[in-house]
């Protein structure tokens, strides 16, 4: 900030002291009524847009009683949707984890040309609409796509099958781990790793005993965010799934089907599981965030 913005004391300095004391008790905070008003506006806005929708999920889920709720989340189609959601997350998470560590290692510990371009490209999936994320795999693996005929001749199915769902999930969660690790590892520098090497550690020893413990909370943070998005993804998965009940429906897609069939209580019952996951995610995130912040401040 430059000096010109500060150098504008246009206020009359000869105001009576008593008036001043009455209207502004402390010069660096706002009057109590302004504070209360702003807190009220902020909480009101958040209640209307965040808390009420969240509460609505649970209320609607239990509207028809606990029996209906339980039946909705244990019927075979719901269970198969839950299984597929867990499977998609269980495959995409390790893939993006390995990628995130590799990308962070290369970017944070070494200098090379085009690093900024690489950073932008890693973030690219976040700025692509989920629908387009699904579309690109249809264009590659779909029947009319680049590999469509080859896949058909070899009796392989990617689109409207589980591999497509996994691919779409990998795409939308692609940057999460990498973007948490890169800034932290950049701040930590390479001194500790170099010391380990000088002391005779092998590459893997150095990585497992020095690098990994240093970044474990950031890694965890990335994995938590990645998992939440992987289990909740709707748009991208919807394009490649084909919506075959009991086979290619993930939880969000199952919710959509139930909702469109006017089975509202059942739709909200399955939705409440994902809302619960979201709350657990936020709680974990809150705990881990502080560890990451302390790791980062130690590194600086």
């Amino acid at each position: 900030m430059d000096a010109t913005t500060l150098a504008v004391p246009k206020v009359a300095m000869d105001r009576p002291a008593d008036r001043r004391a009455r209207s502004a008790p402390s010069p660096t905070t706002e009057p109590a009524w302004v504070r209360r008003l702003l807190i009220g506006v902020a909480l009101g806005f958040m209640t209307l847009f965040l808390f009420v929708p969240l509460a609505a999920v649970f209320v609607e889920a239990l509207k028809k009683g606990f029996g209906v709720y339980l039946a909705a989340i244990t019927e075979p189609d719901a269970l198969s949707a839950i299984k597929l959601t867990l499977l998609a997350a269980a495959i995409s998470l390790p893939m993006n984890l390995v990628f995130g560590v590799a990308a962070a290692w290369a970017i944070a510990k070494f200098d090379f040309r085009g690093k900024n371009v690489l950073l932008t490209l890693i973030d690219l999936p976040f700025s692509v609409s989920p629908v387009i994320a699904g579309l690109i795999y249809v264009l590659v693996f779909g029947l009319q796509g680049w590999l469509g005929e080859w896949l058909r001749d070899h009796d392989l199915k990617v689109i409207f099958a589980v591999p497509g769902i996994v691919l779409a999930t990998v795409f939308v969660t692609f940057p999460f781990v990498a973007r948490e690790l890169i800034p932290l590892m950049q701040a930590q520098g390479q001194d500790q790793e170099e010391a380990a090497r000088v002391l005779g550690a092998s590459g893997w020893q150095m990585f497992l005993r020095v690098t990994l413990p240093n970044v474990k909370w950031a890694l965890m943070y990335g994995v938590i965010l990645c998992n939440a998005r992987a289990m909740g993804e709707f748009g991208a998965v919807s394009v490649v799934s084909g919506h075959i009940r009991g086979q290619t429906n993930t939880m969000p897609l199952h919710i959509e089907i139930l909702y469109n069939e006017y089975q509202f209580a059942a739709a909200f019952a399955v939705a409440s599981l994902l809302a619960g996951l979201a709350l657990v995610t936020l709680a974990l995130k809150y705990v881990v965030e502080r560890r990451v912040a302390s790791a980062r401040s130690e590194a600086v």
């Binding site: 965040l50 692509v128 939705a271």
Partner: protein, 269 residues
């Protein structure tokens, strides 16, 4: 010199190409199968234009509302102490964590004419669910954390001495806020606005439930891509996708430039 550079970079580039770059290039290559007039017709037909208008308009309105209220939320969370502040702070990220389909059906249930909120708005002549207004509500929901989370750290870093200096120089509180604090926060606020806007443009899950999806009225562009795909009009779907991709990449570029600007301002005190 540390080991593993070739392996790490090699793996990173291979994975990036296989998962992101090659499939993404398919969108652009597919549109080359269209002639220019065909492409132009696909991306400028009245129904498509109506969807751009709704998507951009509602996204812009939602991002603006979020800029205003997000700034207030960030300010309140950083500056004031009140019971439950930490819980509220943690819940700001709810739209990031809550699956979009869940948000979509919850908002629809609330704003439907018999819903908790809808039943109060209906007598006022306000219909939200299944109208363009519903699209705006859903996009406001998903955009809030972007503004709060970009403004919050900047507000936390503001040196309180600046405000004290301004006060000693005789500035009123309002002058301090508007001439000292606001210029510091502005780059972050604009960045948060742009991020919320960019996210809203591509949003699908939370919108399709509440929008009603009537062609020409409440149909967003991402939905139009899916509709075309379901009609096996791959070229048409891809052409619209290219328009959206170009718009998002332009925004991404703008956001990067904004962040550079913000860093330079923060660094050049």
């Amino acid at each position: 010199m540390l080991p593993g550079f070739d392996l790490a970079l090699g793996f990173t580039l291979t994975y990036l190409c296989l998962i992101v770059l090659i499939p993404l290039s398919a969108v652009f290559l597919k549109t080359f199968t269209l002639t220019w007039p065909n492409f132009w017709e696909a991306v400028t037909s009245p129904r498509v234009i109506a969807s751009y208008r709704l998507t951009f308009g509602a996204s812009l309105a939602a991002a603006l509302i979020n800029a205003v209220f997000g700034l207030i939320v960030a300010w309140v969370l950083v500056r004031y102490r009140f019971p439950g502040r930490r819980v509220v702070d943690a819940l700001v990220d709810l739209p990031f964590a809550l699956p979009t389909a869940v948000a979509g059906i919850a908002l629809t249930a609330l704003y439907a004419s018999n819903g908790w909120i809808g039943r109060w708005l209906e007598p006022l002549g306000l219909k939200v669910a299944f109208t363009p207004l519903g699209v705006f509500v859903a996009l406001t929901f998903i955009g809030l954390p972007f503004v709060v989370r970009t403004v919050q750290p900047v507000l936390e870093d503001v040196q309180r001495e600046l405000e004290e200096v301004a006060a000693t120089l005789g500035a009123t509180r309002w002058q301090t806020i508007h001439r000292v604090l606001f210029p510091i926060v502005l780059p972050a606020l604009v960045t948060g606005f742009a991020l919320a806007f960019a996210r809203a443009l591509g949003e699908y899950g939370s919108v399709v439930f509440i929008a009603g999806n009537m062609p020409m009225i409440s149909e967003i562009t991402p939905l139009l891509i899916i509709t075309k795909l379901e009609q096996y009009d791959y070229a048409g779907a891809t052409a619209i996708a290219v328009v959206m991709l170009v718009a998002s990449f332009a925004l991404l570029l703008a956001i990067n430039m904004l962040q550079t600007w913000a860093r330079r301002r923060a660094g050049g005190v």
